[in-house]
């Protein structure tokens, strides 16, 4: 009875999860390598941990309603060993090991390390209460609240803050990184396909926090060059 009451919302959640991943800010609708890795990690953990959760809850329910046959202390000790060592020690240790085996290399792959070939594009972003100031150091292009990048190429966003702590986040392209006064943090982004991706500030930064949004537009390499030309000419 109770079990069914619990199973229903859980199942519902799962179905909804599977059905509703898309969205302009959804991490489950990745459009770049970092976001894709993170989404994959999520689905793996979600599947495995749902099983663990169901198993633990199921075992508890069974344990509560079963009537043990005997009070034999030796048997009790065996059960103790089985559950505590098997469930309490082995299960978490194995899960952690598997998780880290995937997770540590995944984290490594998201770092802005030197590339094997080619250079990444460098963009400077300074966060303000409450807008993003964007600067292209090579070409001198300056914008507010919008970034333009070439699709299929890694871009390094150099993040600074002019006032309080903000956090730069484009959910469909990758994780977030804080803009901290006095530091420069580097976030690597890459969009696989041309398109427009939304971003927002993720660290509470005052009353304008909810509206501190921006867009990242990914162009084909040719379009990107054209955009750059147009911007530099438009300036002077």
């Amino acid at each position: 009875m109770m079990f069914r009451r619990l199973a229903a919302p859980m199942l519902l959640g799962t179905l909804l999860g599977l059905a509703g991943c898309s969205g302009p800010l959804s991490t489950l609708d990745p459009a770049g390598p970092s976001a894709a890795t993170a989404a994959l990690l999520w689905w793996g953990m979600f599947a495995a941990f749902s099983l663990v959760w169901l198993a633990v809850v199921g075992l508890w329910l069974y344990a509560m309603f079963r009537q043990p046959a005997s009070d034999d202390p030796a048997r009790a000790r065996r059960i103790e060993k089985r559950w505590i060592i098997g469930g309490g020690v082995a299960l978490p240790v194995v899960s952690i090991t598997v998780l880290l085996a995937y997770g540590i290399p995944a984290g490594h792959s998201m770092l802005p390390l030197p590339l094997d070939k080619g250079e990444s594009l460098e963009i400077h972003v300074t966060a303000h209460q409450w807008y993003w100031e964007v600067m292209y150091p090579e070409s001198g292009i300056a914008l507010d609240d919008e970034l333009h990048i070439p699709a299929g190429k890694p871009v390094d966003v150099h993040l600074r803050s002019a006032d309080v702590i903000h956090s730069f986040w484009v959910p469909r392209l990758g994780g977030k990184l804080d803009a901290v006064p006095g530091r420069t943090n580097v976030q690597r982004l890459q969009a696989d396909e041309p398109g427009s991706y939304r971003g927002q500030c993720a660290e509470y930064c005052g009353v304008g926090h909810a509206h501190m949004k921006f867009t990242v537009t990914a162009h084909t390499p040719e379009d990107f060059e054209a955009w750059k030309r147009q911007e530099t000419q438009g300036d002077d």
Binding site: L6, P9, M10, G13, G20, S22, G23, L25, S26, T27, A38, W42, M45, F49, W53, V56, V57, L59, W60, A63, M64, R66, P68, R75, A76, R82, W83, I84, G87, G88, V89, P92, V93, I96, L99, G103, I104, G107, M110, V164, I165, S167, W169, P171, G174, G175, K176, V180, P181, G182, R183, N185, Q200, A202, E203, Y204, G206, V207, H209, A210
Partner: protein, 836 residues
Amino acid sequence: MTDRDPDFSDRVTRLERVWANLPGLGTLAAVNHTTVGLRFMVTGAAFFLVGGLLAMLMRTQLALPEQDIISPEIYGQLFTMHGTVMMFLFAIPILEGLGLYMIPKLIGARDLVFPRISAFGYYCYLFGGLIILSSLFLGIAPDAGWFMYTPLSGEEFSPGPGSDFWLLGITFVEISAMAAGIELTVSILRERANGMSLSRMPLFCWYILAMALMIVFGFPPLILASVLLEVERAAGLPFFDVAGGGDPVLWQHLFWLFGHPEVYIIFLPAAGIVSTLIPVFAQRPIVGYRWIVLSIILTGFISFGLWVHHMFTVGIPLLAQAFFSVASMLVAVPTGIQIFAWLATLWTGRVIFSLPMLWIFGFLVVFVGGGLTGVMLALVPFNWQVHDTHFVVAHLHYVLVGGMLFPLMAGLYYWLPLLTGRMPSESLGRLGFWLFFIGFNATFLLMHLTGLRGMPRRVYSYEAGLGWDWLNLLSSVGGFILAAGVAVIIIDVILHLRYGRRAPRNPWRADTLEWALDKPPPTYNFVSLPTFRTRHPLWEHPELPESIASGQHALAGAEHDRRETYGSDAVTGKVREVFHLPSNSWLPLLAALSLAVVCVALLVRTYDVALVGVVAAAVFLLRWGWVNGAHPGMAPLSNDEPTDPPLHSRTTDGPGLWGMVVTLMANGTLYLCLIFGWVYLWTVAPEWVFPEDPRLPLSGMLVSGGLLVIAALLQHRAAKRLAAGNAAGLQARLWQAAGLGAAHFAVLLWLTLEAPLEPTGNSHDAVLLMLLIYLLFHGALAALLTAMQALRVARGYIGVRLPYEPVVLRPLWIYTTGIFWLGVVIFILLPAGWAP
């Protein structure tokens, strides 16, 4: 209490009189743990309702997209105050209150070791909480989030008094946490019933001991951080301000160095409730007692190595993040051990499925869910995506509500008969549970998805069409179902006071000693103090309640017309001394009131009034220290003293010494955090500079330190000789030590005033000034207290038969000397050697 000889009822009446609270308003002077613990819990519950109300306001605003019922300014105050109230004014105090209330009853004692300190803690909590709450009604509540990140919470970006309310009020409330931490640690270690060795201690005591020690080590970072930020705001000393040589990330380190252990400070006592209830309802001893003790110890330590998992997006080297990531996942192991030990207990027992068990089951479902999302969050690359989104909001409520509120409700229903003598209703209780459980999951389960779909936390409003609309609506509906559940539970508890069935002596057939008490428990708990031979006294000796009440065990009655209980060995639990405990006192209330004046005066920045408050508080505290030991108000020397075991104030290893050592452990943690701040800013802060010329002459420091060493040695000699039974020249020696200590203080003060410090200009000088103030305070304190002891020698409160007090001060002298020289090395010699 049936047929007894008249002589014995006289003794019980006398016991009752000695332990009674004062009548009428005099009840405010109560110090006994039953009264104070209950006050903590009731106040905490009231704050829970306040926090819940704020949450409902937020859920109303978020129910539909683009609403503007609540402005962003107010929303900022709402989430900040909700988090602050729930964490600092509800969760921690109510669990401390539970500990204060239960521990003596479980370990067979009559009261805690330092009753006045718990009363003082309560008033600090109450006044601090009211001060913080008042900001909400004035419309100037703090609004930078419950972790108050700088620079947003600093003077420039939060100019009003909002942040000050938080910093000062929380620091005031933290006094109560520290008080409870010290109180519970010493009580559990030194006050257990005769024969209750560590291995016979009820598991709940292990959990509370771990919680108490974690408070002792976990709160100092927060206290230091709050003091530094308040000083930065009020006086402009740059600790977190980049331009002046500070670094905002230092705040985050200090805050989370406290903040993560705090989560386990909340979880451990709640898990203690689970470990207490499960064996009772499974009708068999817990499986894997040692495993659980191991898990408690592991959790207590490892939870101090996780704090950076709240800072994975700050930009710290990935390898360092990996250390914290692995450590965060490792805490899953002790938690897993406990969950499976509980499972094995249920598996091998015959479970009675009463109302408390329903809440325990709710705990399991919700908490395991939250634990699993916690492991997900510990994985760095996934954390980068969901950090600061509603996924985290969902996770934290699964762990906090699941890991704390559900067990607490189980405990409430379990211990309600003890508190009130009546049984709660099963039917209304079940309705309340199901509303709460369904409402909770409706609110927070789907919120994981909201977060994964990109909704950041702390946004007061959101655009329609981002895929968040119906998720938020469902969460809000769930929130109201949950609130209805809380209402039903409150009605249930109120109704039961009138209509509940009378509870039998041991309604759940429990094994622990609190069920041997009358209901509601008398202020002295036990008429006579039993000896422990087993972990399950009431199962193996069902006659205990009777024999305790009829005075068949030790220390029956109150023979000397004072409050007494046994003190015992920390490991074996063998009786070592009789603790005489203070009776009702106004001093805790007066001292806390003075501090409240200080707090308000600092808020409105009228420093002369604050100074008056500080002096008043010091006077009350010193008076409190004076009424101790052989003072006529306590346990004056007499000729019919018990000698086997003796009174504790006639020994040299009593609870005072233990209390002092535990306090110094907390204090030392604070000092280490200050050193950490120094080294951190030195190596990390972008604008940090060492001034050209040295700020303090080394020779002057050597003189001051030399005086301190001699003073400490003199005090040490005096204490040692007195302990050996030699009181010749004691008073003179103590005066000398106090005088040299005062000289040390004077030299240090002169050096500080002469030093060319520019504390508002650069963080080097700012931190150095904090160090000097810290050293000055300790120098003055040690000298002052030693002078007071010299006076007490003159009054006859210290002497050959009363060697107790100088030994208590000895660690303070050693500590003061230690921090001075460590300070010289790290703040003066190290920089000089590093960058000549």
